[in-house]
């Protein structure tokens, strides 16, 4: 615990304080906030959206992005429920197939980006339509109802206010933290994000790293899709269509930079807590549900603006001229007593 506390970034700490204040406020203002059922619902939504945010965080860490997380989640949920409903595949096998498919979709993103050198934004935008299209092509937009009871009841299961699907999220988040901090591949991943040229010149396996990051992203998206399917109790083709915004909200508010090299896991967690608190609060006060979208947008802007203030100081944030990186004289020769030949 102490180690975590000491390593916590300023952003994460700030978010934690805001989270606690927000929770306190909600407790005081709306008594139903602390009801077991409300906490369960909120925790369950949070568990799924956090996975989505982590799926984005891991690709942001290598300086890329993944717009197809939602499409992968949707496709995986459909394939799993389709296997279970239409082909009576055992639950474990169906889900295993789905998760492998998700990771594979992600890996394909990574491979295509590495091979074609096409910007990850445009590439994953393209593949997201491919994945979503396959999903709709399979389902014709009709859900697979009646998934096995075991799966559906897992989605509803709780211990007190604690949703059981949160176990999956916690295990994966911890595993991701260990991966990034403690494994060679994890370190290489952050190295590639931090300085891709240096990483390549140092002989790091850049392709493997990129594919791994995208593979993990696809896998997390697939798990999120699976959990949402379990929670809904059916394979909805629309699973994942609204994930783009929360996927960026978490890491960006949490302190990630688009240029890569950082993976603020705690910041992402606390940012998603904040997003969940806001959504829940708005529901509890019976506000128009569209406010959620509005607030998340505002939060992202606020988050990046704050990051900018921290980086350059309040005075310079609105300075028109680019705060160009410090210019240095290029490495040049010392005053070699070199003589033009005619002087000889």
């Amino acid at each position: 615990m102490v180690a975590i506390w000491r390593r916590m970034s300023g952003v994460a700490l700030g978010l934690l304080i805001v989270d606690l204040a927000g929770a306190l406020l909600l407790t005081v203002v709306t008594p139903s906030f602390t009801s077991t059922y409300n906490l369960f619902i909120t925790g369950r939504d949070f568990s799924i959206l956090l996975l989505v945010a982590l799926a984005q965080m891991i690709v942001l860490a290598v300086g890329q992005m993944n717009l197809s997380i939602g499409a992968i989640g949707g496709l995986v949920a459909i394939v799993e429920s389709g296997l279970m409903v239409s082909y009576d595949t055992p639950v474990v096998i169906a889900i295993a197939c789905g998760l492998v498919l998700g990771a594979a979709c992600g890996a394909v993103n990574g491979l295509l980006i590495h091979w074609t050198k096409v910007n990850s934004f445009i590439l994953t935008l393209g593949t997201s339509y491919v994945f979503a299209g396959v999903n709709l092509g399979i389902t014709h937009a009709t859900p697979f109802y009646h998934i096995p009871g075991a799966v559906a009841s897992f989605g509803q299961a709780r211990i007190g206010a604690f949703p059981e699907i949160a176990i999956v999220t916690i295990v994966l988040a911890v595993a991701l933290a260990v991966f990034l901090r403690q494994t060679v591949l994890g370190r290489q991943l952050l190295a590639v994000g931090g300085n891709p040229v240096a990483a390549a010149l140092s002989g790091l396996p850049v392709r493997r790293v990129i594919v791994t990051a995208h593979g993990i992203s696809g896998f997390f998206g697939a798990v999120a899709g699976t959990l949402l399917m379990a929670q809904l109790g059916e394979g909805q083709p629309t699973i994942g269509v609204t994930w783009i915004l929360p996927s960026f909200a978490g890491p960006i508010i949490g302190g990630a930079v688009l240029a890569g090299g950082s993976a603020p896991l705690l910041g992402t967690v606390f940012a998603m807590v904040l997003v969940s608190l806001i959504s829940d609060g708005l529901i509890l006060v019976n506000a128009n549900p569209y406010w959620v979208q509005f607030f998340v947008g505002a939060l992202i802007l606020g988050g990046v603006l704050l990051g900018r203030v921290r980086a350059v100081g309040l005075r310079d944030v609105f300075r028109l001229k680019s705060t160009a990186p410090p210019v240095t004289d290029r490495p040049a020769e010392e005053p070699v007593p070199r003589r033009p030949a005619e002087q000889k």
């Binding site: 445009i122 590439l123 935008l125 393209g126 937009a141 915004l245 128009n288 505002a298 990046v304 603006l305």
Partner: protein, 335 residues
């Protein structure tokens, strides 16, 4: 030595690219592909060449191209605008509200909607310029702000009781030919944009800062002002596309714009606009939008599931950027 020869060929290709010949060839290829699809669908998709179908095809192409233009102008300065759809949807709803609830005459309503779109674009630009935030993040956030705001204000209720004089611009045919006035509007916009990029100081400046912002600034260009204009123009074009969609759908519905993100990138990308900035092709974007509309219409008539269209569009986008990448690699662009 074969290695030397390869280098020579590569150098030659680079020079060709430098003089724009490769780009012309690319456009020609796009034209041939589009023509090929027209021939194919005329032969195999019953009803493809009917007046009715051509009317709808060209009308949807006009809208797709306008959406593509809205993205193209920000791509030209090396930015992107994820709020194209949000602006189109919000301004479309605004125009619908003006006409249906306030009884504002259509021409004025559309003008006000365009003004709103332009100011929303200025808002994006202000955030991008003054805070140096990445345009991706800024427009992702403003897209959700704009759409959220629109839904809150309208409670997601459509305006479907619009004046006929407004709907006419999308529904009537021009002098018996199956062409909607929307197509003329789009062609007019294309003409203006073509002139802007070819022969005006503004167009040149946009391309210059798109290709190398630092060098452009250090050549004395007013980068901030140009970014402002480009995003404003993007907002204006998005609003125009929104108004066109409202007219085409007979109704201002809150769903307009929700599926524009891909479409906005596809048309310019196919047409040869460089996604990293500094190079645009107006005629390419027109052809790109036309190709997408052609394929959609043809597949629909051939009873191919509409859902597969999404796969197809995604694949076309990937192919287009992939091909662009390959020609550039072969051309050996200074890497």
């Amino acid at each position: 030595m074969s290695a030397t020869r390869t280098v020579a060929v590569r150098t030659r290709l680079t020079e060709l690219r430098g003089t724009g010949l490769l780009r012309t060839l690319g456009l020609l290829a796009l034209l041939i592909i589009t023509a090929g699809f027209w021939i194919f669908f005329s032969a195999f998709a019953t009803g493809f060449t009917s007046d009715f179908n051509l009317f709808f095809l060209l009308r949807s192409a006009a809208i797709a191209v306008t959406i593509g233009f809205a993205q193209m102008v920000v791509l030209s300065i090396g930015d992107m605008n994820l709020s194209v759809g949000a602006i189109g949807g919000a301004t479309g709803m605004f125009a619908g509200w003006l006409m249906q609830v306030l009884g504002v005459p259509p021409a004025l309503a559309v003008l006000l909607a365009l003004a709103l779109g332009t100011s929303l674009g200025f808002g994006n630009a202000a955030l991008v310029v003054w805070t140096h935030l990445n345009s991706f993040i800024v427009t992702l956030a403003t897209a959700s702000l704009i759409t959220g705001g629109m839904l809150i204000l309208t409670r997601a209720r459509p305006f479907s009781n619009l004046p006929d004089s407004f709907l006419g611009i999308a529904q009537i045919e021009l002098g018996g030919v199956p062409v909607a006035p929307l197509v003329l509007i789009m062609l007019g916009v294309a003409l203006v944009l073509g002139l802007v990029y070819r022969s005006t100081s503004l167009g040149r400046e946009m391309l210059a800062i798109g290709a190398n912002r630092q060098a452009a600034r250090m050549s004395g260009l007013a980068v901030g002002r140009i970014v402002l204009v480009a995003h404003g123009l993007s907002g204006l074009l998005a609003a125009l596309a929104g108004a066109m969609s409202v007219a085409a759908n007979n109704t201002a519905s809150p769903g307009i714009g929700s599926d524009w993100v891909l479409a906005s990138f596809v048309a310019p990308a196919i047409g040869g606009t460089l996604l990293s900035g500094g190079l645009v092709s107006v005629s390419g974007t027109v052809l790109g939008g036309l190709l997408v509309a052609t394929i959609s219409s043809g597949l629909l008539l051939m009873n191919v599931s509409n859902f597969w269209l999404s796969v197809f569009l995604g694949a076309v986008l990937l192919l287009a950027v992939g091909l662009d990448r390959i020609t550039r690699t072969v051309g050996g662009a200074a890497s």
